[in-house]
Amino acid sequence: MKVNDNLRTPLKRARGLGSAKDGTGHFIDQRITAIALVFLTLYVVGLVVWLIGADYATVRATVAQPWNAILLVAFLVASFWHAKLGLQVIVEDYVHTPWLAAVSQLAVIFVCALAGLASVLAVIRISLGA
């Protein structure tokens, strides 16, 4: 039997790995973004198909329309948030080396946040004509 080499009891250590006080938060956020994306995806696909063959000025003017810009930003935020939540679970399930799992989780968060910010900024620039 392994000698307990620190002063914490096994129960205390087990408790330390317990609740982070946000048990169902991930699940609920994933579902909320999923429901939003059902509608927003249909809208964005419709918008993209509508714009097929259109020239630069038309595409830009269409994206700049307030409702299109608002719904696009909503789509982008929901998408990259949903992507972060989904990728997080995939890393949790398949990456078992602790340092690699931590690096992967950080990379997921940074890539999703950066791509989300960059694409939202692009829509803002387009809609403000900058």
Partner: protein
């Protein structure tokens, strides 16, 4: 089980697709030259392949995702309906993809 793995696989494809979408919006914001580079790539054979894979991934993740939401509500757990719904996800997404491409090609032809 297959649909569960496909849901994850298509999810990863959609993340990559979203990164391309971010590139597209940034090139649209940057100016006509950058935009024509992006749209030129989208019209290339490789671009079509990517768009096709992306559109099916999106259709599958959408249909199967709605199925997941219904399962969260406690529906569709008997073995019969589970198997049937898996097939709905697979064939429904193929039909949806075909539909989008037919409309898209009509749109392109008319433009």
């Amino acid at each position: 089980m297959v649909t569960s793995i496909l849901h994850r696989g298509t999810g990863i494809v959609l993340v990559l697709g979203s990164l391309l979408l971010a590139c597209g919006l940034m090139s649209l914001a940057a100016g006509p030259e950058q935009w024509s580079g992006f749209s030129g790539f989208a019209r290339s054979p490789l671009g079509f392949l990517i768009l096709f894979g992306w559109s099916w991934s999106l259709a599958f993740h959408l249909v199967n995702g709605i199925r997941h939401l219904l399962q969260d509500a406690g529906l569709g757990f008997s073995i019969d309906s589970f198997v049937r719904n898996s097939w709905i996800s697979v064939f429904g997404s193929l039909v949806l993809t075909a539909l989008v491409w037919v409309v898209a090609m009509t749109q392109w032809g008319g433009a």
